[in-house]
Subunit: 396 residues, 2 copies
């Protein structure tokens, strides 16, 4: 017998303003109480069909293969890369953040040769750099960009990149982990061939799933592979036989039913709110937070004009203890914000306003809490300045 | 806007007697209502530590690296293989069922050369065959067997195989997807180096996680790889930096908090029941079901003496419509049983009695339902014979 007395799970109720997970709407949480069904149950197929249809709305696509991968966002990234890259392929990949770096890591595990698009962390990749890379002597198979870089808070423009990829006959892969459901992601209009996200950020579902959409052009490429896909679990040809209704549903893996229910409910909430209104909500709260932080004399890390509304990076002022502030946010406010990742560790905080967490009350509370805790550390700012600027921004 | 009116999820309450998922105890379902936490939250770490400790109890191991992979059982299989096999390695793998076949598929995606241990579906792999394969001219790196073959209902003996693997310095990998929590799986006593399972069968949690345990010997092998592991998501070296407490917890992916809560609660229920009592419960109900089916004149598919108590394969009588019976079980009894997989499609039914679903009432109900529906199809059997034999078996 295990020696410890194991108690019921009783986690604190946190205000989740980190890089994700975000808070979950009670209706989404409640959906997980629905009875588990087998993955071949006729009713379960209707849940799958609905989910695909709702995801197409969210991704703004007509792609048949639009479904959640049964694992978290990093697995979506892996699925997006390992199905389309095989040994010897050339990929052009952004190199301006922690998740761009992860894409490079995964692509190199696929045996691909990688041309890196370098930019400082906190800046976008310029179209000129993309064009130069695509024009290199080598035939480029895939261009991969991170739409919303969770480590830097940068929103990467995509339309020119998409045109360049098309022109050079490369597949265009976009990581929309921190944008889908909070920023516009128009897969078809923007000519994105492969796009994935996660469940636990702007979609507002618990972590565990990774929505992905793949167009016909990309699926054709998949058929021409000379090696099998390294991963069985993420093999899109096999997954499509389970997900695409064509008379038969070939068993691939046991679908995580409770997570699917939660995702379905989160997507219904998005449809109820309306995608445009939801994006507007994220924009307003993000702008208010950023106005407030700047009014407190803090410096935003991401390139002006290319800032995410879903996740804000703010530089930690000289002499302020990163860990102590985040620890006190947790203990005094039960509020989570993110620390810096990779080269930004100890240099920035990451404040997420995503999904159900993107609310006026959270903007006001995080500014108020930061003002209080920074003042305790000796950082000087006018009392209430941050909150005031945020409210002014909200009333605009 | 999506055109369909999307309704709340309202799945029927099924009696899940298929190959998994099994029914979920109300306490396990309730655990998913706990608030989602960030994957770096101090409280969340305590949930992780408890879960690892409870899993060690279940796997009967002291292995430090004992944790749930954040994806379903098939991903556990992939993790078990892709971390230890690289191009050019030789693996000896069972070839006597659908999931053995899946292991071969995944191992070949890793670039391994495979020596197949052939046996008829429904029969075990004999130790002599294992010894012959390990004695082949080639240096074998890994021996892989399925403990409980979900497609055939066979329980593979493991102790001799483990000794042979040790003798030939091969790693011993065991798939315990349909046994862990229902049959004895003694990882340390049986000298298993790598063992994985799933959450949704005998553990009684919803699908979505794959518990795995890996000993030090296997982890040493991992360090000596010459190629990086093909999968980032399933890379055990990276995952161990998140899971093993050593001062730092390196972020790898966003842990599916709600699923972890459910698994934790399911494991607490197992500890409360006691592993021995739980295995005994599965044994008694499995035996009663099998006695009942045989008393109805039905033929069990799996080799006598090597039958699972968690999943029973029974041959579909001549002239009986497989799909219609299963359809009527669903519509008249809201009960799911499994059809045959692969070469057994249309030839057997698979009746699971796993976790919370392994109960006297389910044994009686499935026998009663099958008797009624088979009689409607013209199959002749003495009324009540199945139930009577089951009860006699239970009272033994």
């Amino acid at each position: 017998m295990p020696s410890a007395p194991y108690q019921e799970i009783n986690p604190p109720q946190r205000i989740l303003l980190g890089p994700g997970p975000s808070n979950v709407h009670p209706r989404v949480q409640q959906a997980m109480m629905a009875p588990v069904l087998g993955h071949m149950d006729p009713y379960f197929y209707t849940v799958m069909e609905d989910t695909m249809s709702l995801l197409r709305y969210l991704f703004r696509t007509k792609n048949a293969l639009t479904f959640p991968i049964s694992a978290t966002g990093s697995a979506g990234m892996e699925a997006g890369l390992c199905n389309f890259l095989e040994p010897g392929d050339v990929a052009v990949i952004a190199n301006n953040g922690f998740f761009a770096d992860r894409m490079i890591n995964i692509a190199s595990r696929c045996g691909a040769e990688i041309i890196r698009l370098d930019a400082e962390w906190g800046r976008i990749i310029e179209p000129e750099a993309i064009e130069a890379a695509l024009k290199s002597q080598k035939k480029v198979k895939l261009l991969a960009l991170v739409h919303a870089e969770t480590s830097t808070g940068v929103l990467q423009p995509l339309t020119e990149a998409a045109q360049l990829a098309k022109q050079h006959e490369a597949l265009f892969l976009v990581d929309a982990v921190t944008s889908l459901g909070g920023h516009e992601v128009a897969v078809d209009d923007w000519s994105i061939d492969i796009c994935y996200s996660c469940s636990q950020k702007c979609i507002g579902c618990p972590p565990g799933l990774s929505p992905i959409t793949v167009n016909q052009k990309a699926m054709e490429t998949l058929k021409k592979r000379s090696h099998s896909v390294s991963s069985y679990y993420l093999d899109l040809s096999l997954l499509s036989k389970y997900w695409i209704r064509d008379g038969s549903r070939a068993y691939h893996h046991t679908a995580p039913a409770s997570m699917f229910y939660a995702l379905h409910e989160a997507l219904v909430l998005i449809a109820d709110e309306g995608l445009e209104a939801r994006i507007q909500r994220h924009a307003e709260h993000g702008a208010a937070l950023q106005a407030g932080l700047e009014a407190m004399g803090l410096v935003l890390h991401a390139q002006p004009g290319h800032r995410l509304s879903t996740l804000t990076t703010v530089c930690i002022p000289e002499g302020i203890d990163d860990a102590r502030i985040r620890q006190r946010l947790l203990s005094d406010y039960s509020m989570e914000i993110g620390g810096g990742l990779g080269t930004l560790k100890g240099k920035v905080w990451r404040i997420g306003l995503m999904g159900y967490s993107s609310s006026e009350q959270n903007v006001l509370l995080v500014l108020s809490a930061l003002e209080k805790l920074l003042a305790d550390e000796g950082y000087k700012t006018e009392t209430g300045a941050g909150i005031k600027a945020a409210v002014q921004s909200l009333r605009k």
